[in-house]
């Protein structure tokens, strides 16, 4: 079927070839050549004719359709398909970048929260330590005040007691002569008889020296 179609197609130029030189002498030369080879090719069933890829008669149609189809492809690619795919890729990249940025921001927020927590913890610790120190100092001061008060009280009492003791002692010492006189008078009276109180007193004073 394919061969038949080709033979029919080739048959037409063969007829044209007869008329061509008569009508247009200038133009006839190159076309006549082409048609002659096409004719030979058709006549011998592609055996020894022109090799199809080198057949110049097919060039205009091929170039025309290549220009149309490749031009259409270029326009479709540059205007529709490639911007669309590029847009999809750019969009995806933007989404991924935005997600990464969001994740980074979240991480920074977390870091900030951790830092704030640690700062608050440290502040609370130092505050607690401050309170503890303060109360301890207050207690110590209170204690020291109370102790010094008690000590002062005790010292005062001791001093008073000592004063009283020394007073008592001094008083007692003043009675010693009298007691000794009375005792000596009594003893002498028992032994010797009456003796004057004045002589006893003088004797006691003499004995004390």
């Amino acid at each position: 079927m394919v061969t038949q179609a080709y033979a029919q197609e080739a048959a037409a130029p063969a007829e044209e070839h007869v008329e061509a030189p008569a009508t247009d002498a200038v133009h006839a030369d190159p076309t006549a050549d082409t048609h002659a080879t096409t004719e030979a090719h058709a006549g011998e069933d592609h055996g020894s004719g022109v090799f199809p890829p080198f057949d110049p008669a097919t060039f205009p149609s091929q170039l025309l359709w290549l220009a149309i189809t490749f031009g259409a492809l270029y326009l479709l690619m540059s205007r529709v398909a490639l911007p669309r795919i590029g847009g999809i890729l750019a969009n995806r990249k933007a989404i991924i970048d935005a997600d990464l940025a969001a994740a980074d921001a979240s991480r920074q927020k977390t870091d900030a929260a951790i830092a704030a927590y640690e700062a608050a913890l440290a502040a609370a610790k130092s505050k607690a330590q401050g309170i503890a120190n303060e109360s301890r100092e207050a207690i110590q001061a209170d204690l020291a005040a109370k102790r010094s008060a008690v000590e002062a009280d005790l010292t005062a009492k001791v001093t008073a007691a000592e004063a009283r003791i020394s007073a008592t002692k001094a008083e007692a010492l003043t009675h010693v002569d009298e007691i000794a006189t009375e005792t000596a008078q009594t003893v002498v009276t028992q032994l010797v008889g009456d003796v004057s109180a004045d002589s006893v007193r003088a004797a006691v004073a003499k004995a004390k020296e």
Binding site: V2, A12, E15, E19, D24, H27, T58, S61, F70, M77
Partner: protein, 258 residues
Amino acid sequence: MAGTDPIHQFVIQDIFKLFTLGGDGTEGSGTTFAFTNSSLFMVATVAIISLYLILSTGSKSVIPGRAQLVSELMYEFVANMVRSAAGSAGMKFFPLVFSLFTFIFVANMLGMVPYFFTVTSHIIVTFALSMLVFLTVVIYGFVKNGPKFLKLFVPSGVPGYILPIVAPIEFISFMSRPISLSVRLFGNILAGHITLKVFTGFIVTMSSLGFLGILGSALPLIMAIALTGLEFLVGAVQAYVFAVLTCMYLNDAIHPSH
């Protein structure tokens, strides 16, 4: 015989005629444009690429499905290729490189389907594509860099007395780029398809020779299977090579002093 003719697959047939330019109105004069089987597969190639890329990315999901993922992978594959070879300044040519890569890739893959026409097996198509690249490089190179673009032919660090030798070599290698670029793609696809057809033709020919022939045809069958895999690889690699070289040539236009 046409069934095993390895050249027949490259024949271009008119599906319908469009119009004739020039000539004198009689049939056969002037240049006739037609919608051919080649045109059909060019349209199919562009339709497949465009529909796939546009439909698969329709939902614009942030989390891509399989179809969308393939589109994204192709986008990033070509984008990385352009960026690594031509720098970020080359990204303005990204749609061109992407169109070239996908067009050649899908055309090559379509060509692997039996009875399908391979658009890139015709030198005029690959040459037109490589001239598009070449002219883009030359025009953009001169527009952007002015006369400095000619520094391309004067490699830095080369002593002055060697320059008369080096500069012409650089110039010739630059001018032969569209030829090497187009012939590489064309030659690979053409040779691969001919080889594949020849080996599959052997299977048919040997099988018609009787029992021993059928046994013997296992050898070309194995070859044909292996070659089919190889041709898929070649089709993909050639599309990649074309795109990478395009990026490197564009890099010359953007940064001419290398």
